[in-house]
Symmetry: C2
Subunit: 202 residues, 2 copies
DNA sequence: ACGCAGTCTGGCAGTCGCTGCCATCATGTC
DNA sequence: GACATGATGGCAGCGACTGCCAGACTGCGT
């Protein structure tokens, strides 16, 4: 705790961190390659560890679960979402604020191809969807207070409307991304999202 | 295949079917008891099998997975949903048809207490939610053609609107049931559902 | 340069959900 | 009573994941 490693620029201070980053990258790349080559379920953690040159035990110390090997740091998504939304001016409506959050998260992908590959893997693999949906629920829970602040919510805990609004936003995002994948990445997801919302609130 | 067992009334024809039903019920009751007593994740399949007086192997032959031990035959939910919606007259709108389906499924529970207990277990157990959400996705996929038939959907596969509508309906159902559980089962879920939809469709 | 302390690593065993295989036993039929 | 048709239970095994322990390594003070 005495000497923080520089997170942004510059080489990491200690040798440990350097090797750690190297191993992390190696594991991540191996995993993504094997996943796309032979599918998520057909790839065992043991295989990834073997080909990445680390022990299975170490791999599980780096990444707590197999899902985490997808990379992209999905946990960051939640952060960006809540940050973007809470940064919106107070007079911006709920739907607009949510849209801004969604757009910010979508802009997080490195490239169109990478996004397409991730979404494709996600929507086509049952075991992955489970994890994604689980995280999604946590995001929804985190967003709840922010959304309630922008709606005149009833007192007490028996007001389902904020929950419904948040869940609907995610539902539209899902529909949009699924359609986007189905059409092989034509157009912009955010346009599809707008279309979904229009269809729902029309 | 030569002598069908009577499904509805009367004792089942063969002894096998009788014992089978008995074992099924015994397992189901034991499982539900243990789940509510000590939680879902804290209850092992081995324990259920032991206390129900069958081998673990047999238990897995009766129920393919641990989730299925929750009973209620959630697979039936999907059937009732699609049936109810497809039975709606052609001039009934999408939202109304979906609402009818939701109401039909909710009416499937034996009692208010049972429904509350199930929803509570569902919303509080991560591993259960995963399975539920997975099934939900299948239901959504099954509903898609029915909903598209009631909307003037664009040609091609790049129309996300039907997906969005279905997903929104489920999102509202989720929000409603979560709020219902949070308020310990006060009021009717279907009323909360209506409130959610009203909030979304403004 | 050396030793010590704090980490990191790999391997082993074990848990839990779940499946395939096979011997055994009960059931229904001829 | 003999025989085919299942149902059952036990065993081994897989895959994700965890706890534990010994050994290797790095960083730091001397």
């Amino acid at each position: 705790m005495k000497q923080e490693a520089r997170t942004a620029a510059g080489a990491p201070a200690t040798l440990w961190e350097r090797t750690r980053q190297l191993a992390t990258r190696e594991i991540l790349e191996t995993a993504l390659r094997l996943f796309t080559e032979q599918g998520y379920d057909e790839t065992t953690v043991a295989q990834i560890a073997r080909e990445a040159g680390v022990s299975q035990r170490t791999l599980f110390r780096y990444f707590g679960a197999k899902e985490d090997l997808l990379g992209g740091g999905q946990d960051r998504f939640g952060q960006v979402l809540t940050d973007t939304i809470s940064e919106q001016p107070a007079d911006v409506g709920v739907w607009e604020a949510l849209r801004a959050g969604v757009a910010a998260v979508l802009a997080l992908h490195d490239s169109r191809e990478q996004a397409l590959e991730r979404f494709r893997l996600l929507h086509n693999t049952a075991s992955l969807r489970a994890g994604y949906l689980e995280k999604r629920l946590r995001f929804q829970e985190d967003l709840l207070p922010l959304v309630e602040a922008r709606m005149d919510t009833r007192a007490g805990s028996a007001d389902p409307r904020a929950r419904a609004v948040v869940a609907t936003a995610f539902a539209c995002l899902d529909a949009a991304s699924m359609t986007w994948v189905a059409s092989d990445g034509r157009g912009d997801i955010i346009d599809l999202y707008d279309e979904c919302l229009a269809a729902v609130r029309g």
